[in-house]
């Protein structure tokens, strides 16, 4: 129809995409790399949000977002690290650890989500806007907030990818995932690496929770939505392939936008899974997956 | 029995098997040797349907191109793996049972399993978890499972690796008996020339996927080219 409308929709596609990308990074890391499916992923997302909320709104701490991020990073890393050490690591020795890890993180999710419910009440919480205003090019309108998310998501993921492929630590992480014994043999502190991976991914999703609070807000059960979306993206992009994840995020984002625009919102989900199935039928390992 | 003609397999730019042709006659023990990475295991992987390929492979006259591994197995082609494969959650007996079932529940008969266990004298570890066996045990279970499928032809990939002289002798006995008592045609990949010269009627040496010599083992291993690219001088001396 009208060209500028398509542009307009394209922008929302990009916005979706970057939001999804931001959601999924963490999962791509833990699941894509350490192959532990973390059902509590969504709850960690909420954790970040509530942490920020407590600081900024409840305690009314001054210092704005910079301050919050500075405090959130160590908190989240610590939380993730300890969680891994305490509940995931003990299961790793078992041959069926993958299922067990799913189960235990599911329990954790149940615990955390309802913990939030009890602590903070059922109602959603929101954070003050990180940035306001927008860029307007004729009919096209892009909120600065969305631009920020876009930039952060892309740069975050690329940095992270570089880390995995080009640093000794990154290689170690992959090595541990592929062959724990081999990793031990060459002297990689396997347990610490696993825990660290978990910690990092917690930070990523947690920060996501803070940055996305403007759109997704913070609510006890809010994490599930995030978990499912991230999971779809990770798998669609291909386990272990960061680049794939990024691509997937934007493809799905665009799909959502255009299907929503042309056919209506109800069709988005169908279209989404349709495309997913089609892709997997052709490429069982996902868009760019190295392994299943 | 098994006729391979103009077989070629490329992995990217690497040519693993290069326009290779050979024929294995019924009842034969046929040897394949060649440098590491020459393409020996790849040939097996092609015959048993793990990769697609160019060229033609006929088994009893039927082309096996494009068949799934389990279909090929049901034709009567059975194999072992260079790195011993096991079913960690099954016992030795059960693992052999899998082969005996041969893909359908009816085929199972306990007697055969016992017979094979006796044949390989695995009696003492029949109820051991397969992956807790030692190398030799694992190999025997793998061979046992393969035999259980009532193969017409059995492809062995370096069965001797990691065994000492004593065990090698036993294994050679075993292979001879499989060939004679069970009447199974055998192809064997080995790096031990003594084994090949004693065991096989015909020996194929390949390098870089292509044939460099084929024929009577004793002669083949005297072939200067073979010695040069594969056996090495010292080996030639002390063998």
């Amino acid at each position: 129809m009208y060209i500028e409308e398509y542009l307009d929709v394209f922008i929302s596609g990009l916005t979706n995409g970057s939001v999804y990308a931001l959601m999924a990074v963490g999962l791509t890391l833990v699941y894509g790399v350490s192959r532990a499916f973390n059902f509590a992923y969504g709850s960690f997302y909420s954790l970040g949000g509530y942490f920020a909320w407590v600081l900024m709104v409840y305690l009314g701490l001054s210092g704005g977002y910079l301050m919050v991020l500075l405090m959130a990073v160590p908190f989240l890393i610590g939380f993730g690290y300890v969680t891994e050490k305490v509940i995931v690591a003990p299961l790793r020795k078992r041959s069926d650890w993958e299922v067990k890890v799913m189960m235990i993180t599911l329990g954790l999710a149940l615990f955390l989500d309802n913990g939030y419910q009890v602590l903070f009440g059922p109602r959603m919480k929101s954070l003050p806007p990180i940035m306001t205003g927008a860029v307007e090019l004729g009919p096209i309108y892009i909120a600065n907030q969305d631009i920020m998310i876009f930039v952060l998501a892309i740069s975050g993921i690329l940095a992270f990818r570089w880390l995995l492929n080009n640093t000794r630590i990154g290689m170690a992480v992959r090595a541990v995932a592929q062959n724990p014994i081999g990793a031990k043999i060459v002297g990689i502190p396997k347990n610490r690496i696993f825990a660290a991976t978990f910690g990092i991914s917690t930070v990523m999703v947690g920060l996501g929770g803070i940055l996305l609070a403007q759109k997704y807000f913070i609510s006890p059960m809010g994490g599930w939505d995030i978990l499912v979306k991230s999971w779809v993206i990770t798998a669609f992009g291909g386990m272990g392939s960061i680049r794939g994840g990024l691509l997937a995020a934007f493809i799905l984002g665009m799909l959502e936008a255009y299907v929503g625009y042309v056919f209506g919102m109800t069709w988005v989900l169908f279209a989404l899974f349709g495309v997913l199935l089609a892709t997997l039928a052709i490429r069982p390992q996902g868009l760019m997956g190295k392994w299943g | 029995m098994l006729r391979v003609s103009h077989l070629t397999k490329k992995f990217g730019e690497l040519v693993a098997v290069n326009d290779l042709s050979f024929h294995v006659a019924e009842g034969q023990i046929y040897g394949i040797a060649g440098p590491n990475g020459a393409g020996k295991s790849t040939i097996y992987n092609l015959i048993t349907g793990y990769h697609d390929f160019e060229g033609e492979i006929l088994f009893d006259g039927t082309p096996i191109a494009g068949m799934a591994p389990h279909k090929i197995a049901q034709l009567g082609i059975s194999r072992t793996f260079q790195v011993p494969e096991t079913f960690p959650s099954l016992t030795a007996a059960q693992s052999i049972g899998v082969g005996c079932h041969f893909g359908d529940s009816e085929a199972y008969d306990q007697a055969r399993v016992d017979e094979i266990i006796a044949f390989l004298d695995l009696a003492q570890d029949r109820d051991c978890m397969a992956d807790e066996l030692n190398l030799l045990g694992k190999k025997k279970v793998m061979i046992g499972a393969a035999l259980a499928t009532r193969p017409k032809i059995l492809l062995l990939d370096e069965p001797m690796a990691g065994s000492n002289a004593h065990e090698i002798r036993d294994l050679m006995e075993l292979i001879k008996r499989i060939n004679q008592e069970m009447g199974v045609t055998i192809i064997i990949i080995e790096h031990f020339m003594k084994v090949l010269t004693e065991l096989t009627q015909k020996l194929l040496i390949i390098d870089a996927g292509a044939r460099i010599a084929e024929g009577d083992p004793e002669e083949v291993i005297r072939d200067p080219h073979v010695i040069e690219c594969y056996l090495g001088e010292e080996y030639a001396d002390n063998s």
């Binding site: 929709v9 419910q117 929101s126 807000f217 959502e256 936008a257 625009y261 919102m265 | -």
Partner: protein, 383 residues
């Protein structure tokens, strides 16, 4: 014994916890009041709670079997209760049952066998009538619509579709063009595509019926990026407290509806005003949708029990509620032959506009009339 057991099946966990709380606050308040002045027929009321979680069928049924079947309660006070599933579950028994999910589905089940379901009472009118009321008020607003184009967006649940369908027909009958009808799943946050189309349509009215704060807030904010000259009608979606709490003055101009409402900020009668103050004092915040309805349910039942003189005579109690009704803070509550508390009379639908960051009753309906001297204010985004 010298206590009367009262069953309270509400969502105490999961996504419906918030509404559950609202109802519980009303019910608890009523029970405490009754107990404070000597109880009912001299017996204290003892509430027995049951967590309905996500209203899965077997859960609803289990609630009935537990509360009425096992605990032998003499009345059941629910809020959102199962959209018809509850009628079947509690219809098996005789104890009076009050639900507040205002769904035609529930009424249809009732109609199948009014005898059997004689103990079922709805505290609010159906989606259809509420939607009709929303339409009437939209038409009655002191405002000149620039065109006759409307956009209707609703969630894909029973309530959303019910309201959406009704509005669509109403508008069409009135000669309006329904330029866009979107049914959206919960969890929608990015409204770009819809906004794009809205900006082309430039409708005079957009009605959004998604009872979930994040959706309606993001919708409003993204609408406000490049607003059109449109009245934003949120219907029942205005109810989740977060909407005004999060947006405050930002939300000024939105209009919405609440059934069996206690009009605010100034209640219609001194008694009502007193009630609002009592509630605020106890719970520390203004009453929310449902609180008053649930409260009145308990009171209505208590009145009937007193009149009958025996809480165990469920049949008589039910008959009394159905025929006599109950005189509450704003006047008489009358249930119609379908045992539905139809909007109107002394207990009309309240229609609100967010003004200065709070919900203000600007209309009541039926009959459609402005409420006291509160005025509709033209939204700031309309030129």
């Amino acid at each position: 014994g010298d206590v009367i057991k009262v069953g309270v099946p509400l969502a105490m966990t999961g996504p419906y916890t918030d509404t559950g709380d609202n109802y519980w606050k009303g019910i608890k308040m009523a029970i405490d009041e009754i107990n404070a002045d000597g109880g009912l027929l001299g017996k204290q009321l003892e509430p027995i709670r049951f967590d309905t979680q996500e209203f899965a069928p077997e859960r609803v049924m289990q609630g009935a079997d537990y509360l009425v079947g096992q605990e032998k309660v003499d009345s059941v006070h629910a809020g959102w209760a199962g959209w018809g599933q509850d009628v079947r579950a509690y219809g098996k028994y005789t104890a009076p049952f009050f639900a507040d999910d205002g769904s035609q589905a529930a009424v249809d089940v009732f109609k199948e066998d009014p005898e059997k379901y004689a103990n079922i009472f709805q505290l609010t009118d159906t989606d259809i009538n509420q939607a009709t009321s929303m339409f009437n008020v939209l038409m009655a607003l002191p405002y000149e619509y620039p065109n006759k184009k409307v956009v209707i967006i609703n969630a894909d649940d029973a309530w959303g579709t019910g309201v959406g369908d009704t509005l669509e027909t109403k508008f069409k009958e009135a000669g309006w063009e329904v330029a866009l009808r979107e049914v959206v799943p919960y969890g929608t946050r990015e409204w770009g595509p819809i906004m794009t189309r809205i900006r082309r349509i430039k409708p005079a009215i957009i009605h959004v019926e998604i009872v979930s704060a994040p959706e309606v807030i993001t919708f409003f904010r993204q609408f406000m990026r490049t607003p059109t000259d449109t009245i934003l009608s949120y219907g029942y979606s205005i109810v989740p407290r977060e909407v005004v709490e999060t947006m405050g003055k930002e939300a000024d101009g939105l209009i919405g509806e609440v059934p069996t409402a206690m009009p605010t900020p100034e209640a219609p009668t001194p008694e009502a005003q007193a009630w609002v103050e009592r509630f605020t004092e106890i719970w520390g915040h203004q009453p929310q949708a449902g609180s008053w309805a649930a409260y009145s349910g308990v009171k209505a039942w208590a009145a009937a029990v007193v009149a009958v003189g025996d809480e165990k005579d469920h049949a008589a109690v039910n008959r009394h509620i159905a025929t006599v009704g109950y005189k509450g803070e704003t006047g008489w509550w009358k249930w119609d032959e379908d045992h539905v508390m139809r909007g109107g009379g002394d207990v009309p639908f309240g229609h609100y506009q967010v003004q200065d960051g709070e919900m203000v009753t600007i209309f009541t309906d039926p009959p459609t009339r402005p409420y006291k001297d509160y005025k509709f204010i033209k939204p700031r985004w309309i030129k």
